[in-house]
């Protein structure tokens, strides 16, 4: 009851705070915080929508710069957007990998959220955080509890995460139960059943179960780019499983459905050739492998395709065509060895970061390498793509790219600070020329009255019995305290700006200098981090490149040996022919 009283007082005090802000709005600080016509909720909605614009552009850093600010003029009462902003900040923090930041906001929400939907979304994000931290049991508990009352998009994602968590705990039946709740128009279903199929392949070694799961996964895909991409991966996986089962007919059926222009195409072409070969259709298999030749040799299976073509012709006893095919393979491997050497030199001289920057596609953020429209037929791009498909490289490489992006942002910030300094210096110069200081007294009674009302609230709060109501009231008082502190700072700032303009600009200049120093310090720290990470990742990349080089060298030697053998065979057979001819001549002469 008393808590309700406190809330009532808070509601009454709140407009006073805003009026106070309004009194000084002419000279105070933040734009968002100062319009008398906007209620706290309207201000938070505007902030939410502005942050949403950056969020949907994958600018998570910028989203967090705007949100989780001092929420001056905002509170938890009758304000739907205050907590929505917190939730948006949690999502942005999770996407930036700032798990501690997300945890901190979620703790705050745990105390303050009273709306049912916000409470469930808070629990959902706690589940997502546990999921990201690979705390499967906690994640299952939180997501199970939250998911029933979530909006559809979050509910589907929650079901997906739950299914993964169950699979990680080796509970495929539970996972399947959750997946069954996913509607057919949700791509999360395709991903979930794909994971189930992989689980059956790896843990149960049950190919038939895996194929059934993949067939179900395919029914969830749609005609969007993402839907077609995942469908390709499903068909590729199913094709591979069928080949392992020697069921070539089934395999070719799956592989025929893989898009020719998708990222799964090279692997699918190679496997399709194998399936055709298994069906005894050697010529068609060879024709299929010819289609793989346009892809880079870094792409798994492509180097094999060159040898398979030559070997296929050999088996068909088309020796001269086979010789041509082996010669082509040798020249391609030779070229690849040369390009591998060039890539290695590039890595040694400039590092992986420079290479990543070279292939980065504009406007696609740091996760450009997940883009499906990447042309994968140049050695550099194919190599980067191959490298990024490895988990132990992917995570630090993404961090490296993020650091690089932050450093570039900070450098831009330094330029902005320079411009700011120049403006302030000009203003300081002008302020010093013949301006008389303004004599002005600022009435502080409104502020003092607010502070005394706040103290009364605290007295009532002290008498509250311990419990959730008291915790809630404490949060509201803390929120009011923050606002009062800011208000006081503004009083001081306004007084200072009106009475001592020169002093004001001087202090602004000092502040700019201080921030500039911090910017420079952070740039140096990022330089060091980037250098260390780049060196370590470049070493890993060079190791990978060395593996590829050795593989190409093996193919090169094998092709040469095959060619030599083929020439040998031809020579022997020519010799045999000539011996046979000689024998016939001798025989003819003798008779």
């Amino acid at each position: 009851m008393r808590s309700l009283e406190i809330q009532a007082v808070f509601k009454a005090v709140k407009p006073l705070v805003l009026v106070c802000v309004l009194l000084m709005s002419g000279l105070a600080v933040q734009a968002h915080e100062h319009d008398h016509e906007r209620s706290a909720e309207e201000q938070d909605k505007l902030l939410h929508d502005e942050a949403l614009f950056h969020f949907h552009r994958s600018e998570y850093m910028r989203t967090l710069v705007l949100l989780e600010n001092e929420h001056v003029g905002t509170n938890h009462i009758d304000n739907d957007y205050h907590n929505r902003n917190h939730l948006l900040a949690v999502e942005a923090a999770l996407r930036l990998g700032m798990l501690n930041e997300a945890e901190g906001i979620l703790k705050h929400l745990g105390f303050t959220a009273r709306e049912r939907d916000i409470k469930h979304q808070t629990l959902y994000y706690q589940g997502k955080l546990s999921f990201t931290r690979e705390r499967w049991n906690a994640s299952i508990k939180e997501l199970q509890e939250a998911r029933k009352l979530l909006p559809p998009e979050l509910r589907h994602e929650a079901a997906y995460m739950l299914s993964v968590a169950y699979l990680k705990r080796d509970l495929p039946v539970e996972a399947a139960k959750v997946m069954a709740t996913l509607p057919k128009d949700s791509l999360w279903g395709a991903y979930a059943y794909f994971n189930l199929a992989m689980h059956y392949t790896e843990r149960d070694r049950s190919a038939s179960k895996a194929l059934v799961a993949l067939r179900v996964a395919s029914t969830f895909t749609d005609e969007t780019v993402e839907g077609r991409e995942i469908n390709d991966r499903i068909n590729l996986a199913a094709g591979k499983i069928a080949i392992d089962l020697n069921d070539y007919e089934k395999a070719s059926g799956f592989l025929e459905d893989v898009m020719a222009e998708g990222t799964s195409a090279p692997a699918a072409i190679v496997l399709y050739g194998q399936a055709l070969q298994g069906l005894g259709r050697n010529r068609t298999a060879i024709q299929t492998w010819h289609r793989a030749k346009k892809f880079a040799l870094m792409v798994p299976g492509v180097a094999d395709a060159f040898q398979a073509i030559a070997y296929g012709y050999e088996q068909e006893e088309l020796r001269s065509t086979s010789i041509d095919a082996y010669s082509e393979a040798i020249s391609v491997y030779e070229k690849e060895l040369l390009q591998t050497r060039e890539l290695d030199e590039e890595l040694r001289n400039s590092g992986l970061l420079a290479m990543l920057r070279k292939v980065q596609i504009d406007d696609s953020g740091v996760e450009w390498f997940l883009s499906t429209d990447l042309a994968s037929n140049t050695p550099r791009i194919a190599f980067v793509y191959l490298l990024m498909s490895q988990d132990d490289v992917f995570v630090p490489a993404r961090t490296l790219l993020e650091f690089d992006e932050h450093r570039s942002d900070l450098r831009q910030g330094l330029q902005r600070l320079e411009a700011l300094e120049s403006v302030l210096k000009k203003r300081l110069g002008k302020a010093g020329k013949g301006r008389k200081p303004v004599k002005l007294s600022v009435d502080e009674t409104v502020l003092n009255d607010l502070i005394s009302q706040r103290n009364q609230m605290v007295e009532s709060f002290k008498r509250l019995p311990a419990g959730p109501q008291k915790t809630l009231a404490a949060t509201e008082i803390r929120s009011l305290d923050i606002e009062l502190r800011v208000l006081k700072r503004r009083y001081e700032s306004v007084r200072e700006r009106l009475t001592d303009t020169q002093g004001f600009f001087r202090r602004q200049l000092e502040e700019t200098g201080k921030i500039r120093q911090e910017f420079e310090q952070l740039v140096s720290e990022l330089d060091r981090e980037i250098k260390t990470l780049d060196e370590s990742l470049s070493a890993t990349a060079r190791e990978e490149l060395e593996k590829h080089r050795k593989q190409m060298h093996n193919y090169y030697i094998r092709s040469q040996l095959a060619l030599v053998n083929l020439y040998d065979d031809i020579a022997v057979s020519e010799l045999q022919k000539s011996l046979d001819l000689q024998k016939e001549v001798i025989k003819g002469a003798g008779s």
């Binding site: 709005s25 734009a31 502005e50 614009f53 949907h56 630090p396 921030i515």
Partner: protein
């Protein structure tokens, strides 16, 4: 004995790699937090210095969901002088379509009467479309927020409404 030693070595290497990854994540989070804080400080300082609230004018841009108009660019004029021109990327249009609002312009104006004009360039059914909207407004002390909004026209979906209002 040897096998156990190998297992221990492998476990050791694994835990070292996991620890290294966790350490990197921790360092990355700390650095990101500082980048955010510094950017926030800079933003505040810029607002205080360049566009203090007594002179501040902010123009936002929003597009209603389901409008049959693909925004290409916007030209914004204040008192018949170009304030900004903005060309939209596909990603930005997606963000607007999903409820985001763009802070298109932040500037400073003295108190008094002013005029804002916005020219919207874009496409309707693959045909180029150009339309202007304007608003006269009075700037008093305190910040003035204005919103440009492309709205759906229920009477004629092929003729979207371009509105400017004070918020």
């Amino acid at each position: 004995m040897f096998q156990r030693a190998v297992v221990l070595l492998v476990c050791g290497l694994f835990s070292v790699s996991v620890l290294a990854e966790a350490d990197l994540a921790q360092r990355a989070e700390t650095l990101k937090k500082r980048v955010i804080e510094l950017n926030r400080d800079l933003l505040k300082l810029e607002e205080q210095t360049l566009t203090p609230v007594d002179t501040q004018v902010v123009v936002f841009l929003a597009v209603d969901n389901g409008v049959s108009f693909t925004l290409d660019s916007v030209e914004l004029s204040l008192n018949e002088e170009i304030a900004t021109r903005y060309l939209y990327s596909e990603q930005e249009l997606g963000a607007l379509d999903r409820g985001g609002i763009q802070r298109l312009y932040t500037g400073a104006l003295p108190e008094g009467s002013h005029q804002l004009m916005a020219v919207f360039n874009g496409k309707v059914d693959n045909r180029y479309f150009r339309k202007a909207a304007s608003l006269k407004f009075a700037k008093t002390s305190g910040a003035r927020y204005l919103e440009l909004r492309v709205k759906r026209n229920p009477a004629n979906p092929r003729q979207p409404i371009f509105a400017i209002r004070e918020i």
